[in-house]
């Protein structure tokens, strides 16, 4: 595991989560005061970020086992909970914290395997 690979894995994950959030906002019905241009902007941002994530993953798959890379997708779950804590000022529940710790421990094991 080198630093470069880890950086690419993280960029791929963050752009995936970001893309999801943009798409979700684009698709949310009945938002007042939103223009057609706003919708197209959100949609384009979402699709672009998903595309970045897709190609970075293809680059990573040329170098690493799928069974090695795949568990890292669990981190997207943690990124979502952190975002919710930041954006929505949600308190992280005990259940979320325990799950996030297990996922992180699993990722560490996989990354040194």
């Amino acid at each position: 595991m080198n630093f470069l690979a880890l950086t690419f894995i993280l960029i791929a994950l963050v752009s995936f989560v970001g893309g999801q959030l943009f798409l979700k906002h684009a698709m949310q019905p009945g938002q007042s005061g939103r223009t057609k241009r706003g919708f197209i902007g959100l949609l384009t941002a979402g699709i672009s970020l998903m595309t970045v994530s897709f190609f970075l993953t293809l680059g990573l798959l040329q170098r690493f086992d799928l069974s090695y890379l795949y568990p890292f997708q669990g981190l997207s779950t943690i990124i979502i909970s952190l975002l919710a804590a930041l954006v929505l000022k949600e308190k992280l529940s005990l259940r979320l914290t325990v799950g996030a710790l297990l996922i992180s421990a699993g990722i560490v094991l996989v990354s040194i395997s």
Binding site: Q62, L66, S67, G74, T77, A84, L102, A105, G106, L109
Partner: protein, 134 residues
């Protein structure tokens, strides 16, 4: 909430379709990317050379199919139920790596994968609820 259709368009069957499409597309992407792998060139970090493989294009079709069926599922099933169920794919993918791709998975990696799956199972529902609000 509409009355859910039955048969091919039933939300449960479409959830199954979506999971299978994701599972197969992951394996195809790995196969395809390995076929055209050019780890010597820095350009291949962009992954764009992966498009030379036809398997990658099949995977893209499956990803689109899974996206459509997932949208169909979400019309009828709340995200906080559908999302945890869809995590079944996290069990299928490592098994597929082992069975179909012949990846040698060490005990340490299996343990890591198991921890991630248990962690995901614990957080799936609350995260889906968070995601609905984000």
């Amino acid at each position: 909430m509409h009355h859910p259709p039955s048969g091919f368009l039933s939300p449960r069957f479409q959830l199954f379709v979506s999971v299978v499409c994701v599972f197969v597309s992951e394996l195809l992407l790995k196969r395809g990317a390995s076929q055209v792998a050019d780890t010597e060139s820095a350009f291949s970090w962009t992954g764009i050379n992966g498009l030379e493989s036809s398997l990658v294009w099949w995977a893209i079709l499956l990803i689109l199919a899974s996206f459509l069926s997932w949208l169909h599922v979400l019309k009828y099933i709340p995200l906080s139920i559908a999302f945890p169920l869809s995590r079944v794919v996290d069990v299928l993918v490592p098994l597929g790596c082992w069975v179909f791709l012949g990846e040698l998975i060490s005990i340490r990696r299996w343990c890591g994968i198991a921890l991630v799956i248990v962690g995901l199972a614990i957080v799936a529902k609350p995260v889906a609820q968070l995601e609905e609000r984000l």
